[in-house]
Symmetry: C2
Subunit: 134 residues, 2 copies
DNA sequence: TTTCGATATGTGATGTTATTACATTAGTCA
DNA sequence: TGACTAATGTAATAACATCACATATCGAAA
């Protein structure tokens, strides 16, 4: 579980599909892209995605049921903070950022309410600078 | 579109189902609960849910594909801010809160990146005080 | 009142996303 | 080897959501 994770064949195929995409992909889109590599069933994709999520190499975008390669693969700068995603509803581009103030405020709320958080998602839907200018 | 919204029959049925539940419900759970009231198809539920979301009377929890009645029905105190949800993965209870600092930080990011946000979701998964103590 | 348009509803079929269950294969290590 | 764990293959099914088309309801304009 170091920063350079040893991936199995299926995990590599799925990760590469996400890494070369310029935006999020659904599990079934990935499946279709990998049929030429021998993929035949959704579970082959979902199992690889689960592992890649574990390893922190990809993210799941809950609000659009899709997955993206992590855009900060070589640094664990914000590994302790929550990651926020800005998702353009027109072009599909996703920007990833983390903010210590937001992370701190959420933690304050959970601490003072006795809530043990395991995972937090922040997803901003809207139009990116390019699409919003049109 | 005032604070007391005039609801149609189906909208009332769906809203009441959510209001009397002590936690989030999936669309299909609502459908099953309303079969006795003549509901037969998912679309009857989804159409009502869409309207109730428009009216701000309910929220959609993206991370668990479920819906909850808004817990601040009579005040628009935080109507301009983002709402965060803390969802207990054991008992299903959902707590709703808003935080001006978080709202402000998100707006700072979107402003400085030219992103026009339309909807933002913040969902904290974990264990509530009761379940976490066990 | 009649006609029109907008909104709401009913229903079946279909599309999309995710998991269950079970069998098999491959690698690790005592 | 034997036993254990992780990964894989496959079919079936479950869970979530929308499309397409027909019908109904209601208010405003002619």
């Amino acid at each position: 579980m170091t920063s350079t994770q040893e991936l199995t064949k299926n995990q590599s195929l799925v990760f590469n599909a996400l890494a070369r995409a310029d935006g999020p992909l659904s599990a079934y889109t990935i499946l279709d892209q990998l049929r030429g590599d021998g993929f035949r069933a959704p579970l082959q994709v979902y199992r690889a995605l689960d592992k890649l999520l574990d390893y922190g190499m990809i993210h799941r975008l809950e609000s659009i049921n899709a997955f993206v390669a992590c855009s900060h693969p070589h640094s664990h700068n914000h590994s302790h903070g929550m990651i926020a995603f800005a998702i353009c509803e027109k072009c599909g581009q996703v920007s990833e950022f983390s903010d210590d103030v937001i992370t701190g405020r959420v933690r304050e709320w959970t601490n003072s309410n006795g809530f043990k958080q395991s995972k937090t998602t922040i997803e901003i839907r809207g139009l990116c600078a390019t699409c919003g200018a049109a």
